[in-house]
Symmetry: C2
Subunit: 449 residues, 2 copies
């Protein structure tokens, strides 16, 4: 067998282990930081009473398509050796965690306690063309609340407040959470006498990409708006304010509708609730529309202050008719998603992450000699029994080589079991170079900085 495979190895064409663009993977010293981030996020989400939910990566395509406009981004599955009754053709990888969560709530409606608050930290997939900050597989960290009939408006402020705590705790560079309300947009467009407000929202959502000029042109040519309607829409989209003054600025445009009033009241209430956060961290931005059709009220979109063109790092909003649509119940929800991989990869690329170590071990136990290997293993077992993370070196190499291995893996301490029973154990702190006698029954490493 071994011989066979060695032969195969030299004859067969090599399959190069090339990375696939858009599918990130990290070295161990980076992964350990990502893992720490995930632990921190989970801790904070649980501190607010959100429970963990995971859903399959795969949903029926008609569930993924239940609320429009994303079909081009979905990876569908096919079995390589599909037979006639293959059902994988109607399955696809989820492109966000909101639609699967809404489906989950509908599927388990009778078994859940409402209001149902969950966090969900999973990979999602989008069949996009990769570019900076755009991945085809990435991790999102979502919190959502879904309730029967009514989700109190204070949740629209509570969720960004939790995200604020998360990003602050992680030490993410300055960002702004831009808030808008789809009722403001729809109510404004209705008040203007626009026939198809949703079509206008979809065009307005492209402000980031094509600017006011491009949006104005599309509003005229594609949505059929008159010049004064176009002007009013662009004036609305230009409004940015950090507090209740946003209401006055909209009113100055002299458009009226009940839905607009309702949306402005909600927007002002959410801003007021978040007014104690540091200046600039929350801003009403009436150009924010969010492309997804399922949003019905508050919408969020966060961006880095220093990299405004990098795109959204958190997003979400209120979706009053998504979960309920699966079972004809009234199941409104609100949620927000942290684009973990996008943020993490950007900070890594900018050199802003302090990475390492490559090993989780607190200490490396060296093998003094082949004969002393059992004694070294017993020492390692004793240290592990006290909760320490301990790697044993794999063979009785020269001690200098074993120590070098610890250095290269970022292990902070090296443990030297004695060469014979009568001598003492010693431990070396690789950061300080100090080496001292140590007792396996009592020694602990100083806490990692």
């Amino acid at each position: 067998m071994a011989q066979d495979n060695v032969a195969a190895m030299s004859d067969a064409p090599i399959v190069r282990p090339l990375p696939i663009s858009g599918f990130p993977e990290w070295l161990p010293e980076v992964r350990v930081v990502e893992q720490r981030w995930l632990d921190t996020i989970r801790l904070i989400f649980e501190r607010y009473g959100f429970c963990s939910v995971e859903t399959p990566s795969v949903e029926a395509l008609d569930v993924l398509m239940a609320k429009g406009e994303t079909s081009q981004e979905v990876y569908a599955l096919r079995r390589l050796q599909a037979d006639a009754d293959d059902d994988s053709a109607r399955l696809g990888l989820h492109f966000d965690l909101t639609v699967p969560f809404a489906r989950y709530v509908a599927a388990h409606f009778n078994e859940l306690v409402f209001p149902f608050k969950r966090y969900q930290m999973q990979r999602v997939w989008r069949g996009e063309r990769p570019q900076e900050g755009r991945f085809r597989e990435f991790t999102q960290c979502d919190i959502d609340v879904i309730n029967v009939d009514r989700v109190p408006l204070h949740f629209d402020a509570e969720l960004p407040r939790i995200v604020h705590e998360v990003l602050t705790t992680l030490g993410v560079p300055p960002w702004t959470l831009n808030i808008n309300n789809r009722k403001v947009l729809q109510g404004f467009y209705e008040g203007l006498g626009v026939a198809d407000p949703l079509a206008v929202i979809r065009i307005a959502d492209r402000m980031d990409k094509i600017g006011p000029g491009g949006v104005g042109e599309l509003l005229a040519t594609r949505a059929g708006l008159a010049p004064d309607q176009v002007r009013a829409c662009l004036e609305l989209a230009a409004i940015r304010a950090s507090g209740a003054e946003v209401v006055e600025q909209v009113r100055e445009l002299r458009v009226k509708s009940d839905l607009l009033d309702e949306g402005l009241d909600e927007l002002a209430a959410v801003l007021a609730d978040l007014a104690d956060l540091p200046a600039g961290s929350v801003v009403a931005d009436l150009s924010i529309a969010r492309g997804l059709d399922y949003y019905t009220g508050t919408v969020y979109e966060a961006k880095f202050v220093d990299w405004p063109d990098f795109g959204s790092i958190c997003s979400g909003g209120r979706y009053d008719n998504l979960a309920g649509s699966f079972i004809r119940r009234n199941l409104p929800g609100v949620g927000i998603s942290i684009g973990l991989t996008r943020i993490f990869a950007k900070l890594l690329a900018e050199g802003l992450l302090s990475v390492g170590p490559a090993s989780p071990a607190d200490v490396l136990v060296v093998i003094p000699s082949a004969g002393r290997r059992p004694a070294a293993l017993a020492t390692a077992a004793e240290l592990r029994g006290r909760g320490l993370r301990v790697e044993t070196y794999h063979q009785p190499d020269k001690l200098a080589k074993q120590v070098r291995y610890a250095v290269r893996k970022g292990i902070g301490h090296v443990w030297f079991p004695p060469f014979d029973e009568d001598r003492d154990h010693e431990v070396k702190n690789l950061a300080t170079g100090e080496q001292a006698i140590a007792d396996p029954a009592g020694w602990s490493p100083p806490p990692r900085s």
Copy 2:
């Protein structure tokens, strides 16, 4: 917008939120146990110095196919709106974590420190027809060691020892780890004068499914073995022993080859290394072959003692030519995989898991009245600041309703902020029914049992 969507809700055909068979998902009170299992496994893996690695869910199909025989199980991707230069056609979801890990080591060869020991806990996908214990999406927890040129044989024993610690710590019901060595099989078949030992291994691997009769027939008809060769192969496969006596039992069959001797030496050494584990937990079983073509030495397969037909719950082995095949280096490896979802789902189905609670919160802070909501939120924030996990109720309902919510979510304590500033806070232990005055600056819940 709200109106529009309500209209859409009542008109559109309903997309039923049906579960897709083979893609499990858990209620919160089950997920919390799964999360605890994952935390325990990770802790033990790290205690042995294994670092965390994750790879993309997606690999190039030619990487997945680099070592044979699994093509029918792979889910390939296709973009729903694929264009001419769509490259997703050559991508697929990984079906295990060994092949992606071997590819990872080859891809990052110059950046890793060897021997490279990693754990990897991720979902994998197989386009199989679902049946009991067979999922199409499931989580595996793997540990592997890959080194340049040589991985000492003691790792073949260390890895199952770690798995033993994991399963014991999780309280998994009795299982047996069956061990064999592919060199024993190949050497034995070579010594018998069989022309294509690999073909015989693939047939022998079906012993579980078709029994000795079926295997014997295939060995004769498909592999072209003579009756005495068939008889010898079946005699070999019938050998089960828990220690070095396995060597004698094989020798009694009077087949000789150098590779057989090498394999028996390795098998005996691994069994001897594990001899201190409880009786019956490790057994040499010469019928174990493992279907995957990449194994070259030790192979493992664990089964429940009480459910022998349930199939494998852990598996793995030594693959001396997998990672190296991507870059023409000698990069042997050995690894073992815990079939987390299979084990977890089985215990859940058998009623052997103690599930719950549905909420991670230590305490629910009630809202005494609308006017006292800010005071209740401040109390919750103070408790959170001390590291407690705190949910606040969402509206000033009757207190009995708020308490009932805590009961239904499995939250152990309810916190009653005072109705006015002059009174005391009180906290009720829902397990004991006791209610007592409490100070938010000092109170902690008793540890959960």
